[in-house]
Amino acid sequence: MTTVTDDGAASAALEEFLNRPPSLGQRVQSVLHRQPALSPAIVLVLSFIGFSLTSSRFYQLENISLILQQVAVVGTLAAGQTLIILTAGIDLSIGALMVLASLVMATLAYQDGVPGVLALLIGAAVAIAGQFVNGLLVTRIKLPPFIVTLGMLSVFTAIGLIYAQGQTIQLNPGAFLLWTGNTFSIGSLNLSYGVVLMIVVYAVLTYALRSTAWGRHLYAVGDDAEAARLAGIRVSRVLLSAYVVAGIAVAVAAWVLVGRVGGGDPNSGLNANLESITAVVIGGTSLFGGRGVLIGSLIGALIVQVFDNGLALAGLDPNYQVLAVGILVIAAVSVDQWIRSVKA
């Protein structure tokens, strides 16, 4: 009799255990799993508040305008990088390709007298073609993206230096290519058209990733390429398209860079590649593919720029920015690992 009662109590306890309310940690984990951009957004808000306390100039609209202008190049590039990382790839050549495309645009317009629009289109074609080659090597020759883009990093860098012969090109003020550097004001907010282009890139790609079959296929391929193939998705085609669309982002980033440096400079934008990867990782996109949102990468890029600008305004050693970014990258990847342990 007593045993039966005990059995009933035990099964009730088991029932209760299985249906127990999730702990705080589990609930946080579950929310972060559904909203990958939430943790970087919190970091951005906290760092913004922190730097506002150290300098009364930091939160002025003029300074916020500057941060947006400063982030436009890396931010745009990070949008392209996000597509590649969502497919569980990585692109080490995207920055060098951007510099190459910017040199092509500026050189054609300046030395060869090509009309600005045409120079822009040819430069854009170079960027898209470069990414097309990357995509072909990944999908047709089946090389790991890391190796492909490591090789292409050297190829693009070398072509850029040979093509520009190490020269800096200053375009005449008013040149069409410099439009991305022109500014307009909304009250005290002073934005460049490069910032607008960056926002357009994010808006269009966010829509494409969320609401089109192409976007859902991209996530599926990044999450599990084999499962995606069995579900009837043409994996190679989706992968190749990710590189080509990233090429469009590279082309836009190159134009923004031309506007920012006033022409072509083989030494400008050299750190942009690693900065774009940093932005994507801090932004909560998983390096293992298939998880992340585009807007997270913009938040990630903004965090890095806020540290850079905020420390300068506070008169602190810029080395702390390097330190802070390193810690954020490790933290972001740790959070990603923890979130991935959720059984969806």
């Binding site: 030494n267 400008s268 300068a312 390097v322």
Partner: protein, 305 residues
């Protein structure tokens, strides 16, 4: 510099191998190039060192009997090279600083210091920065580190100065622009900008133009390229300290050629640890007490196109 070296090599019957780093401060590529030169049994090395990290490799080269010529910038310590052909970077900075002090004539100076790096100690970075401060009559504080001067005080002639910022530019246009934007955000009263080189100065000018402050802020550059001197004429740079990289390469090449054929070693300029190839200040307006030449005069000896 490379083109002049190649021309001099041809004239002296020397075989020249050229290696270039991918970016300013790329020491690993330089070490590899030095190792290659040793194993190929070259007679000498011309190098513009990217920092102290290459010192050990250069020591190896000297032990293997190569004649090490440093160009543009003396290594730290200078004895790492057999001889350095360089312009005095401190003197170049000084000329800019003296001109800035004379131009202000006692009015308050709010100074932005746009340096090269924040994570590597490179002598060109320190020498130009400190030279500029010394030229203005400001004590740089620690001789081996940037940013150690008193943040406020008086400069030559008794005017007050404020150091608004020290920011790294990596010597590139985008770095110069971002650095200047941050400096202006931190202190909108800046009226004097020191820039480590011309690209950094161009980026700084872009930031100043975007802020609508071209009238009130004067930019001082160092390099002396032909393109840079045009920017002095157009008023983007108030002054540009000119150096002669082509001359350094030619003299270095001649020294190695002479030595390889049994000639004597070259000697340094008296009182200096290197052979001084000279520096001059180019400015549109001449000021009393500072020696300068016009952009047109400077253009006769500029480099690049």
């Amino acid at each position: 510099m490379k083109n002049d070296a190649e021309a001099a090599a041809a004239a002296n019957g020397v075989k020249l191998t050229v290696a270039a780093g991918t970016t300013d401060g790329d020491t690993q590529t330089q070490i590899t190039a030095i190792d290659n030169a040793i194993s190929e049994g070259d007679k000498g090395i011309l190098i513009t060192t990217n920092g102290n990290a290459v010192n050990a490799a250069l020591d190896q080269a000297k032990k293997a009997g190569l004649f090490v010529v440093a160009l543009d910038t003396a290594p730290t310590p200078p004895t790492v090279a057999d001889i350095t052909y360089a312009t005095d970077n401190t003197a170049a900075g000084k000329l800019d600083g003296q001109y800035a002090a004379a131009m202000l004539g006692g009015k308050p100076a709010v100074i932005a210091m746009l340096d090269l790096f924040n994570n590597q100690v490179v002598s060109v970075d320190i020498d130009r920065d400190h030279g500029f401060l010394e030229g203005m009559g400001i004590n740089p504080g620690n001789p081996n580190e940037n940013g150690q001067e008193a943040k406020t005080g008086t400069y030559t002639g008794g005017g007050k100065y404020t150091i608004a910022c020290h920011q790294p530019t990596t010597g590139a246009i985008d770095g110069g622009r971002t650095a200047m934007e941050d400096c202006l955000s931190a202190n909108p009263d800046i009226n004097i900008v020191y820039a480590i080189n011309e690209p950094a100065a161009e980026g700084a000018y872009d930031a100043i133009r975007a802020a609508g402050k071209t009238g009130s802020i004067k930019v001082f550059a160092i390099d002396g390229s032909c393109a840079g001197l045009k920017l002095v004429s157009s008023g983007e740079f108030e002054a540009d300290a000119v150096q002669y990289p082509g001359k350094m390469a030619v003299l270095g090449m001649q020294a190695i050629a002479k030595l390889a054929r049994g000639g004597t070693k070259p000697t340094t300029s008296s009182g200096l640890s290197f052979f001084n190839t000279g520096t001059a200040l180019v400015a549109d307006k001449s000021l009393s007490g500072v020696t300068s030449e016009t952009p047109t005069a400077g253009a006769t000896a500029c480099w690049g196109s």
